[in-house]
């Protein structure tokens, strides 16, 4: 099945939080939504699960009891133990006790939470609490699993456990939609939507986004002068210089670079910034 949203517009007062954003969530696929603070990721995910009614556009989602959702603030009760949190969720969704116990045991074991089953969720470390939140959100094998920045502030070891859960849910057939601020993580999604100020900056598979960069990129040991200065950015100890199609190319002391996802998303943001400046712009 395919869930998703078409042409969503959301306003909070005068602020345009989403402007014409569409997303398709296919079963068995991990769809990544990437963007910085304030890009519109949370608003998009909230529309998807039905927590916000958009001002325009359409959302296709399964029945509420077939959705699993981890919000960016918290998905657990701090004053219940790990096991009580999961029992409560399983009961709420009507999961047969036998199946609930089996899934719970497997997921807790696999993500290193088995020893913590009697601890209060409020006493867990950030990474453990996020793992519990995801296990809780997928306790009923939802058709649509929506995770709002499950790995923010989480260390790489817990992040690997969280991604195991994500893979597990997709392997069971869930359409997973996951928001993140990090491109190295977004790269693991099979479809990606990059958001900036409520608009789509780029979308496709990570490979498609990387290979769809217009113009050329060169490496350089220093920032170039002139108009190219605004089209260059730091990458490690060196600079990258982007030349859009039709622009005067700049001689650099480095080779042409095959763009990766980072370059592509950086360029999409630069293009918007530069385009906005030259047209007088409709900056938010």
């Amino acid at each position: 099945m395919s869930w998703g949203a078409s042409d969503l517009t959301v306003r909070f007062g005068a602020h345009l939080a989403l402007a014409g954003v569409s997303l398709e969530a296919l079963e068995g696929r991990v769809t990544g939504v990437v963007g910085g603070d304030g890009a519109g990721k949370t608003t998009l995910l909230r529309c998807l699960v039905g927590a916000i009614r958009p001002d325009g556009g359409e959302v296709r989602r399964p029945d509420p009891h077939r959705i699993g959702y981890l919000s960016s603030s918290s998905g657990t009760y701090p004053d219940l133990t790990v096991e009580e949190n999961l029992d409560f969720a399983a009961t709420t969704y009507g999961v047969p006790p036998e199946e609930a116990r089996r899934r719970m045991a497997e997921h807790l074991e696999r993500t290193g939470l088995a020893q913590a089953r009697d601890r209060l969720a409020g006493d867990l470390s950030g990474g453990m609490r996020q793992k519990l939140g995801v296990i809780r959100a997928m306790v009923h094998r939802p058709d649509l699993l929506v995770l709002d920045e499950p790995t923010t502030g989480v260390d790489p070891v817990s992040r690997a456990d969280l991604w195991w859960l994500v893979a597990r849910a997709a392997a069971e057939g869930a359409a997973v939609v996951l928001a993140t601020a990090y491109l190295d993580e977004a790269e693991r999604a099979s479809w990606l939507l990059a958001l900036d100020e409520g608009r789509i900056l780029a979308e496709g598979t990570p490979e498609q986004i990387a290979s769809g960069v217009p113009g050329t990129i060169h490496s350089a040991s220093a920032r170039p002068g002139g108009p190219a200065a605004a089209r260059s950015w730091r990458r490690g100890a060196r600079w990258r210089v982007w030349t859009p199609p039709g622009a005067q190319s700049v001689a650099t002391d480095g080779a042409e670079v095959v763009p990766d996802l980072h370059d592509a998303v950086t360029i999409a943001a630069l293009a918007r910034e530069l385009g906005g400046a030259s047209t007088g712009g409709e900056a938010a």
């Binding site: 470390s125 790489p156 070891v157 980072h262 943001a269």
Partner: protein, 290 residues
């Protein structure tokens, strides 16, 4: 090169807990050193020891060749995870406050921040707050810059801009020590130090650390089924797009675990993150995950 910060076989205990265990670390002028480790690996304790906020149990810390003191503190710039800004003061007021404490330039707000100079920090977007915290930490031209997860939560372009600032400081001769949980950020550093259980378990360039670690890449239309079969065989696969990457094993073992499932297998070099997990947690295909 001059050693700006040195930990010389430093150990720190908290009661029975050995938080930092005989760690050697050096940050020279002009270089960016990344400090990686899971939570509880000892990164934050090490930073506090280096900043002189905690005494060592054993070993020595040297800042600019001296024991940490009020004088060495003046030559440090520090951006904590919490940023350390006053949320009810504006960027201009925060910087004036820092100026009174540390000296340095009076008007150091980058041009891009000037339009927001009089908005209380608490009302600014996170990316802007981070730039203010950077400007504040850099205002007194510190010789050593310590950054705890400097770009958490900001978009790629904003991150590139923050790294421009970090690199400019290093180009001007400052030494920079950065902690991060993100490997793309780690790859921006000149040199990395990986900690686990209070010890340094690897150090060097990305290539040094990854070494010849390899993973088995599984490509199949039936990835869901393959994921289940690998799990059943105790091989923990990571999903990347529609391919599975299995660390710590050989193609032959993966083939056996897949049974009849048609799949193309190839061995590939591990990523920094995969190698990091192997080094720090035993999170690998061998089924010995904690």
């Amino acid at each position: 090169m001059t050693a700006l910060a040195e930990a010389l076989t430093v150990t720190r205990r908290f009661g029975h807990l050995l938080a930092v265990d005989q760690v050697d670390l050096q940050v020279d002028d002009g270089e960016v050193v990344g400090l990686l480790g899971a939570n509880g690996a000892g990164k934050t304790t090490l930073i506090r020891l280096l900043l002189g906020l905690l005494p060592t149990t054993d070993g020595h810390v040297r800042l600019f060749g001296l024991p940490p003191s009020r004088e060495t503190r003046r030559r440090l710039g520090y951006v904590s995870q919490g940023l350390g800004l006053y949320e009810d003061l504006t960027p201009r007021e925060n910087l004036a406050f820092a100026h009174a404490a540390f000296g340095g330039d009076r008007e150091v707000l980058p041009a891009g921040l000037r339009p927001l100079a009089d908005v209380p920090v608490g009302r600014l977007p996170l990316g802007v707050q981070r730039r203010v915290a950077f400007a504040q930490a850099l205002a007194h031209r510190p010789d050593l810059l310590v950054l705890d997860e400097p770009t958490s939560g900001v978009d790629p372009l904003a991150r590139a801009r923050l790294w421009e600032t970090i690199r400019e400081a290093a180009d001007a001769g400052a030494g920079v020590l950065v902690t991060t949980h993100h490997m793309d950020e780690a790859e921006e550093c000149d040199r990395l130090v990986v900690m686990a259980d209070g010890r340094v378990v690897a150090a060097g360039s990305v290539a040094d650390i990854v070494g010849d670690a390899r993973v088995v890449v599984v490509r199949t239309d039936a990835w869901q089924q393959a994921f289940g079969s690998l799990e059943a065989a105790g091989l923990h696969a990571a999903l990347v797009g529609r391919t599975l990457r299995v660390p710590g094993t050989r193609a032959g073992d993966v083939r056996r675990a897949l049974g009849e499932i048609p799949a193309r297998l190839e061995e590939a070099g591990a990523t920094l993150e995969e190698r990091f997990l192997e080094l720090t947690s035993g999170w690998s295909g061998s089924g010995e995950a904690a």
